[in-house]
């Protein structure tokens, strides 16, 4: 029965991809059912940008649902919430008026809340669900405020009417609407500092749900940001672009810094989602700044880079979460320090996770590299902008993107190496079993997508270019090059991942051929790892994830502010013998300490102050009623 639900979502996914592709290629469509929803009715419309995101949802949901079908105890419930979740997500990019959008958005949030609370007994899940619910509804409040403000000014609640009324808005209204909408959407996307719910909620949910939350749901925040900054409000002032660029730069670096010191596999992946959202924002910010300066071709480049990274991130993040799900299921723990040696017990999962890791680390010729390359190009060409302040903001973006790229690679060496390589660190890891056939199928489909998206930018970039052109309402430039090579901005740069891929494959075979030619020795002998002749070799001697992250903890200690705890238990009879050593080196979150805790304290203090009104004394309540009545009589 539960398999039927997932099967249905696979079909929904395929339909979504088809419909979305139709939209991307220029098809349009509309559907209005006025009686279904109050205050405007159900209003759906298909346009290129909406089509792209619809296709994205289907593209991720289909393999994930196949995986979920194969998940061993999928009778654990949550299928209804899952179905509602996916369908409501599909409605968001199609929504054409405020009520439809808000209802779909809220359904999506509620469904995911129930999915996050899957494990109702665990204190950690409950807290994760609570924080998620609070932050998502705070975001919703901002969204509603912004949308209603716009609706009041434009005189209609339909998005199409906003587009035509955009030029008549006063700058104050426009800026206020942008700030409200951006806060709401950025909170959903997980931009720093509104990110606190992400690393709690994504690990708590079951893996296929985390894959969709990270791969698709936060992208709907990006969808909203795109609509707000480029579509509904017309061309805004330059500070919007600068703000998004800086937010992107900060998010990408901070996201990966937090990921580096994480040992919970799923939380590490969640932090990487924050990092990748930052990279997408870099593209969007640059697009806005170029558009304000009138550089339409470069604006399209920036937007294409952002959209490409959105698609790529959905592919490899979903893949990584599905892989993590197999691992967590097989070993019963999310802690990397208890894993190891899984590449021999779970070879398929390992290969898929490796492809996902290489993709997210932006290694050529996979898809992560192509979109990061495009983002770099979009940022590099800020020389066409004259304001030195903008040039500096772009330079900040470039430096942070470069730092992020390197740190992401380091983090995934850790994630893949500690989890899959060397010896198993616990019995659970030693007895892990490979994922079931359907789970493997879902993962392999996404892995193939990563490779395909990497080798085929010459096909994808023109399609995204037309979407970007439709959003920015300019004619897209002909991206130069042929089926093999991608040429950007004339002579500025060219790339051919297909050629690189072929060259790499040929170069792999070259040494093998050369060995045969010169008659090199082909003998191999198996023996233990070199341990300086040590007699006993145990998994305790392997490097740990904590140790691996240590250089980073030290270099960035001003950010992590680590505290150290060292407990040594000596033998009761002599201090020369040590019985137990416990070492802890946790990091502290500056956002928790400097932003959220003070804010919550302030709220609590305010609530306590207001609480004095509730004295419980009936006489005082009567006095309140009398005062309110007198006040109303005076004001009326």
């Amino acid at each position: 029965m539960s398999r039927l639900a997932y099967g249905m979502i696979v079909v929904v996914g395929v339909v979504a991809v088809a419909l979305g592709a139709y939209g991307v290629l220029g098809g349009t469509g509309a559907l209005r059912v006025t009686w279904l929803v109050p205050l405007g009715g159900l209003d759906l419309a298909l346009d290129p940008l909406g089509g792209l995101f619809l296709a994205l949802i289907g593209f991720a949901a289909a393999p994930v649902s196949v995986y979920a079908m194969g998940y061993p105890d999928n009778g654990r419930g949550g299928q209804f919430a899952y179905v509602v979740f996916v369908i409501s997500m599909c409605l968001v990019p199609l929504a054409a008026n405020v009520m439809t959008f808000v209802i779909a958005w809220e359904l999506m949030s509620l469904a995911s809340y129930f999915l996050v609370l899957q494990d109702r007994e665990s204190k950690e899940s409950i807290e994760a669900g609570w924080i998620y619910a609070v932050m998502t509804h705070a975001g919703l409040a901002c969204l509603l405020a912004g949308m209603l403000l716009l609706g009041a000014e434009a005189g209609s609640l339909r998005f199409a009417d906003w587009r035509s009324a955009a030029t008549t808005l006063t700058p104050a209204t426009r800026n206020a609407a942008f700030v409200l909408l951006a806060l709401g959407f950025a909170g959903k996307a997980g931009v720093i500092p509104l990110h606190v719910w992400l690393p709690l909620a994504h690990p708590a949910a079951p893996s296929h749900v985390s894959a969709l939350m990270s791969g698709v749901m936060i992208k709907l925040g990006i969808y909203g940001l795109l609509r707000a900054s480029l579509d509904w409000l017309g061309t805004g002032p330059a500070w919007w672009g600068a703000a998004l660029l800086i937010a992107g730069a900060v998010s990408s670096v901070i996201g990966v810094l937090y990921a580096l010191v994480e040992h919970d596999l799923k939380r590490l992946l969640a932090f990487h989602s924050i990092e990748n959202i930052g990279i997408i924002l870099l593209g969007i910010g640059s697009a806005i700044l170029y558009r304000v300066a009138g550089q339409d071709a470069l604006a399209i480049l920036g937007l294409v880079a952002a959209l490409y990274h959105t698609v790529n991130h959905a592919a490899f993040k979903a893949l990584l979460f599905l892989g993590a799900g197999s691992v967590v299921h097989a070993t019963g723990t999310r802690n990397m320090e208890a894993m190891g040696g899984l590449i021999k017990r779970m070879p398929w999962t390992a290969i898929c996770f490796l492809i996902g890791s290489a993709a997210i680390a932006a290694l050529p010729p996979l898809n992560g590299f192509v979109s990061e390359w495009l983002t770099f190009l979009a940022l590099f060409q800020n020389t066409h902008l004259v304001a030195i302040g903008q040039n500096l903001v772009f330079t900040l973006g470039i430096a942070s993107l470069a730092l992020t790229g390197g740190l992401a690679m380091a983090c995934f060496v850790k994630a893949f190496g500690i989890t899959f390589l060397a010896l198993p660190r616990t019995d659970a890891a030693a007895s892990a079993h490979e994922a079931s056939r359907l789970m493997r199928l879902g993962m392999l489909a996404l892995a193939a997508a990563c490779v395909g998206l990497g080798l085929g930018p010459t096909v994808i970039v023109p399609a995204l270019g037309s979407v970007a052109g439709a959003v920015l309402r300019t004619t897209p430039p002909v991206t130069g090059g042929d089926w093999l090579t991608l040429r950007v901005s004339g002579e500025f740069a060219s790339l051919s991942t297909a050629a690189i891929g072929v060259a790499l494959a040929a170069s792999l075979l070259l040494p093998l051929a050369a060995f045969r030619l010169v008659g090199a020795s082909r003998r191999t002998r198996l023996y233990e790892t070199w341990g300086c002749g040590r007699i006993v070799q145990t998994p305790r001697m392997e490097y740990t994830a904590t140790a691996f992250a240590n250089p980073f903890k030290r270099v960035f200690d001003f950010f992590y502010r680590p505290t150290r705890r060292l407990d040594i238990e000596f033998h009761p009879e002599s201090r020369l013998f040590v019985e137990r050593i416990e070492y802890e080196n946790p990091t502290r979150s500056i956002f928790d300490d400097w932003l959220y805790r003070p804010a919550l304290e302030f709220l609590r203090a305010g609530a306590r102050a207001v609480g004095t009104l509730q004295s419980g004394d009936a006489n005082r309540y009567l006095a309140y009623i009398l005062a309110a009545l007198l006040l109303m009589l005076v004001l009326a």
Partner: protein, 314 residues
């Protein structure tokens, strides 16, 4: 087409055969500087030949990642060779890649080498991997900012075209942006290729190793590939440094005579660079590991200053 294939072969031979010679020459010069006769510059060829005759001892702890890494490392460097302008300004795969691709190709090699270090399950390998990726990650911003400064002046990130544009500038060597970018790039080269003061390639103490610690488990033909890849990485970095910052002598693509001139020009530039690196390695001591980020931050500052110089001049 034929010319393209010929140039590709010439480049592969120059880098493939020149790399061990470069490393050998570096060792010889270093030895002479401390009063030893030292090995012959052709010694690495003898070393590689001997390694190919030895068996490969593979640890039972490792997986296919360990065995595949030497091949992947060599593959990434061979492809990098075809993108860098070694003797001409139109390397064979110029259409396929540029400076950014080059940086990430090197990262591909580092990624797999670090995984191989972890695969053996020994503390040495893990330590080497951890340090290596830390240094690589911290060197990235410097490289990209320096590249950005170059791209700003040249109007392109295609390596061959950058060399062509710079070749046309008469007062290039006096340009402060150029000199600052060169200094930044030089420090990054030392960091990425594991030379002093970042890493001592000749150390025997595992606690002081960065690159060597990751390859402790390799033997026989695998070790030969890893050593060769390491030498090629040094050669490619030095070639990049030489040809980007002293861009004269490279053949505009035509004819065997200009290519020969290109080869001789490259040999001269590399000889000077090798001597400078040898002098530096003899004179400075290795930095403590946690001082290396300070060095890299310094190189980032230099790259940033180079960028500011370009913006100010514009």
């Amino acid at each position: 087409m034929i010319a393209g294939v010929a140039v590709a072969l010439v480049q592969l031979v120059i880098v493939g055969a020149g790399a061990p010679l470069l490393v050998g020459a570096l060792r010889t010069i270093k030895a002479r500087l401390v009063g030893r006769r030292g090995p012959s510059p052709w010694q690495p060829f003898a070393d590689l030949r001997k390694l190919l005759a030895k068996e490969a001892v593979v640890s039972t702890t490792t997986s296919w990642v360990f065995r595949a890494t030497p091949y992947l490392l060599v593959a990434s460097l061979l492809v990098a060779t075809l993108i860098v302008p070694v003797v001409t300004t139109r390397p064979p795969l110029a259409f396929a890649g540029n400076i950014i691709l080059l940086v990430y190709l090197f990262m591909l090699g580092t990624f797999f080498l670090a995984l191989a270090g972890l695969d053996a399950g020994s503390a040495f390998g893990g330590m080497g991997s951890s340090r290596e990726v830390a240094v690589a990650a911290l060197a990235e911003p410097t490289v990209i900012i320096a590249v950005f400064a170059l791209a700003l002046r040249a109007g392109t990130i295609d390596l061959g075209r950058v060399v062509e544009r710079f070749g046309g500038e008469p007062w290039l060597v006096a340009n402060p942006a150029h000199l600052l970018a060169f200094a930044a790039f030089f420090i990054v080269m030392l960091a990425e290729t594991g030379r002093l003061p970042v890493d001592n390639p000749a150390t025997h103490l595992e606690l002081t190793m960065i690159h060597e610690a990751m390859v402790l488990e390799y033997s026989g033909r695998h070790l030969a590939l890893v050593e060769w890849a390491s030498a090629m990485k040094l050669f490619v970095f030095m070639t990049l440094l030489a040809n980007l910052f002293v861009p004269w002598g490279l053949a505009q693509p035509s004819g065997p005579m200009p290519v020969l001139v290109g080869v001789l020009a490259l040999a001269a530039k590399l000889a000077v660079l090798t001597t400078v690196v040898a002098l530096l390695e003899t004179a400075v001591a290795k930095l403590r590991l946690f001082r290396v980020p300070e060095l890299l931050a310094g190189s980032f500052a230099l790259a940033f200053l180079s960028l500011m110089a370009v913006f100010v001049v514009r």
